[in-house]
């Protein structure tokens, strides 16, 4: 019994210690070659920003593989779950000042063509604004809109429409 208690408390101590170390590490800016950490300020209460400091290379590649962001009908607010991927692109652009992206806005086929160009631009801008909020200079970002002129799905129902309401991040130079 006594031995078991002692072992337990020893395990507990070890776990507590590692937790403290982990937290301490988390508060430090890692400045190695694989720095994915994005900015110096570190907004208090910005959970995603805090999270971003722990991104592993694998996670970062995974985030960067998302280059398409979908929107609701007539909407141009980015889905909350997409923000982390945009942050990853921001980190990449900050790390590679010579890189630049084109952000293309697209819409579904409903509505007028030129109004859809305007709506698509708002979607592209929603992505661009997050990049810029992370400090990416505007000369690395080219915002444009194709409206409903370049659909990827050709049906006339919601299953096609939801695939077409999108913004793309396209690297024009890496």
């Amino acid at each position: 019994m006594g031995l078991q208690m002692k072992r337990q408390s020893k395990w507990l101590k070890a776990s507590l210690l590692s937790l403290v170390l982990l937290l301490a590490a988390g508060c430090r800016h890692y400045r190695g070659d694989d720095m994915y950490d994005d900015d110096e300020g570190g907004g208090v209460g910005d959970v995603s920003h805090f999270y971003g400091e722990h991104v592993t290379r694998e996670q970062e590649m995974e985030l960067l593989s998302q280059d398409t962001f979908y929107f609701s009908y007539d909407g141009y607010d980015l889905a909350p779950g997409d923000v982390l991927a945009v942050y990853a692109h921001a980190r990449k652009l900050l790390k590679h000042p010579g890189a630049s992206v084109r952000i293309e806005g697209h819409t579904d086929e409903r509505g007028s063509r030129e109004y859809n160009v305007a709506l698509g631009e708002r979607r592209a801008k929603a992505v661009a604004q997050i990049l810029m909020s992370k400090g990416v200079p505007s000369h690395q970002i080219h915002v444009m809109s194709y409206g409903k002129e370049k659909p990827v799905a050709f049906g006339h129902d919601e299953s096609a429409w939801k695939q077409n309401r999108r913004a793309l991040i396209v690297y024009e130079s890496e």
């Binding site: 084109r102 293309e104 086929e109 409903r110 509505g111 007028s112 063509r113 030129e114 109004y115 160009v117 305007a118 709506l119 631009e121 708002r122 080219h142 915002v143 444009m144 809109s145 194709y146 409206g147 002129e149 370049k150 050709f154 049906g155 006339h156």
Partner: protein, 442 residues
Amino acid sequence: MLNATQRFFLSGVLLFGLISPAMAKTLMNIIIDGGQLGGVPMAVLPFSRDARDPLEDIATVIREDLQNSGQFQMTPAAKLRQFPDDEPAVDYGYWRQLGVESLLLGRVQKAQDREYTVYFQLLDVFKNTSNRRLPILSMRFERIKPEDLRRLGHHIADLVFEKLIGVRGVFSTRIAYVSVKQGEKGRLHTLEVADADGHRPKTLYRSPFPLMSPAWSPNGRQIAFVSFEGNRARIQIVDVLKGQVTQVTQYPGINGAPAWSPDGRRLALVLSKEGNPKIYVLDVASKQLRAVTSGTGIDTEPYWMPDGRHLVFTSNRGGKPQIYQVDLDTQKVTRLTFEGVYNARPSVTPDGKRLVMMHQRESAGPFSIAVQTLDSGQVTPLTRASLDDSPSIAPNGMMVLYGSQRANQSVLGAVSLDGRIKLQLPAQEGQVQEPAWSPFLS
């Protein structure tokens, strides 16, 4: 004022560069919506000619034009039994018995090699009760080349239409549209110009990138449009005769929705270079650019009122897209549409009295083409399909061309402003969209 023959030859000069071999198929299908076809009972007889000449059948061109206008009850060619080609040979009793009121007949005579003389006479069957009387219209055209016969047919149809209906015909006008075809190396977008009946399409501009918003200059010699080479939007102008292209704007952001002023000197257009898409007016010669709307919303799709001092446009400043008007002197903006949740892409009839637009009556409902009387505000839907867009009004204000969807294909349709007559321009290869009806070309 030009006479009809002068008009024809002027338009010949203007359109010379566009003439290509005729396509021998009917591109229009007429659908009369809601009941009987009214209009003038009429017969167009085959024009007599030397049977050894393999000529375009000019009477068929005229008959189809008039038929497709929906303003005539046309005796089908197969039912015709008498074929006079000159007034003295007409048996009026026979035509009265058939109920035909207007009779068109004519001749195509060879003058010399590859040159013909064409005569026509338009007769009022019931006016000519006993004595032979003058045709209500008759004309002779000389030195007509075989390849000009189709164009002459449209011209004669215009003259007959104006004589009988009292409104200038639009059969000699042209339409521009965007065609999208899937090629081996991706999509090919072309700007096409064709006769008003869809015949003789000719490519004016091609691009692997989308093309949008073709707009004819008031003299019909230029078309402004939007292209996206290198994924950058720009407004360009193509010369209809020479095919020469000049760039108008390439600002960061949107460069869209060009619209010529009635005097042809200015272009209203949309730029988002300052943030939000706003309406600007560009003086084409001096390149002077002036913003005419402001605010945080989307303003787009300007169209000139005939007075040249006001623009109508689409804006979401009230939440959803609606049509507004801006006074170019005072920049005062007034809202024009209140019915429906989505009104966009406005254009105005030549008399300035009616607005034609895309209209969605209720959320998740179909997008149709609708007309709104500006005085009363009364809105009348003209089409009932679910995805109609890009209406463009004929220069005589009687018909509207628009883009529609049929069986997963983009096609063009036309509807009369009274909603009674609908036409489809049947499937061409690929997608056909964004029609723009030319002004009168002579």
